[in-house]
Symmetry: C2
Amino acid sequence: MTEPGPPALLRTLVSWQTGRVSTLGARLTAARMPLEARSDFAVLAALQEYGELSQAELGRRLGLDRNNVNGIVTRLENNGHVERRVDPADRRRNIVDATDAGLRYLDDLNARALDVQDELLIALDPGERQQLQALLEKVLASHPAQPA
Amino acid sequence: MTEPGPPALLRTLVSWQTGRVSTLGARLTAARMPLEARSDFAVLAALQEYGELSQAELGRRLGLDRNNVNGIVTRLENNGHVERRVDPADRRRNIVDATDAGLRYLDDLNARALDVQDELLIALDPGERQQLQALLEKVLASHPAQPA
DNA sequence: TCAGATACGTTGGTTCCACCAACATTGGTA
DNA sequence: TACCAATGTTGGTGGAACCAACGTATCTGA
């Protein structure tokens, strides 16, 4: 029987592998929530951990560029998950802060994200999951998160 | 000074990490070749390793759906990297095969892909790279490559 | 045998995301 | 003061994963 696996040139290419795993994650995510919720999750997680931030700073911390941050924040604002106001100390900036509803929304999204994670990594034992996460973190830490 | 790192909720989420690493890989790739070459690379790698395949089988082995395979094969055909003919044994199928020029193109793309890989994984020693690759492979192997 | 289900390729369209370009406003600096 | 940099905003491009529908060809089972 023909093994329908990917060719070796791809199987050994981390940049290809991560793309596939990421797509798998998106697919599992889509089964539980609208796909756009992933951006919401990232922004709300940053606001929860760091408190209020400007849009540009959100972009820098999350690796998103400021064009996209704008759209995400607008969506969150329309849904009451976030408040946006001009920074009186620097009127170029918009200060973004999570609302209570936003934090509840975050908790919900986080629970679903952990479910996805479990399903995605079903083949790995806890030690391997920890290893994988640490290696990916190391890779990311070595590259500046460029966009602003 | 404020550490501009991503929040812990994301840093520990493999599905988010892989997305970021994949984006980094795409960025490094884009610096060396047109982005669309990544699809070309995948298809040509499969043809080199397995020989001629139908479009549907290409999709199954690579995890692409047949709509996108069609576009990629058309592009490769227009550039003389691939030949496409109807399977006489099953006239529903198109048999796709790499040309000599296509295989040379593949070698070129592969060399660049390995350069990208080196730059992407600069923070990992050879043992860690091997570990990361093996863990990702294990994750992928546990999930059926769905599209056709 | 033949009628229905299935597989394949193709076209056309949607959504998400990364990215680029340009602009007005505001703040910092030489 | 004159210049430059940062910010938010709008509008647009391209890649990739999807979904829907269609015609053609093959297979299956009644």
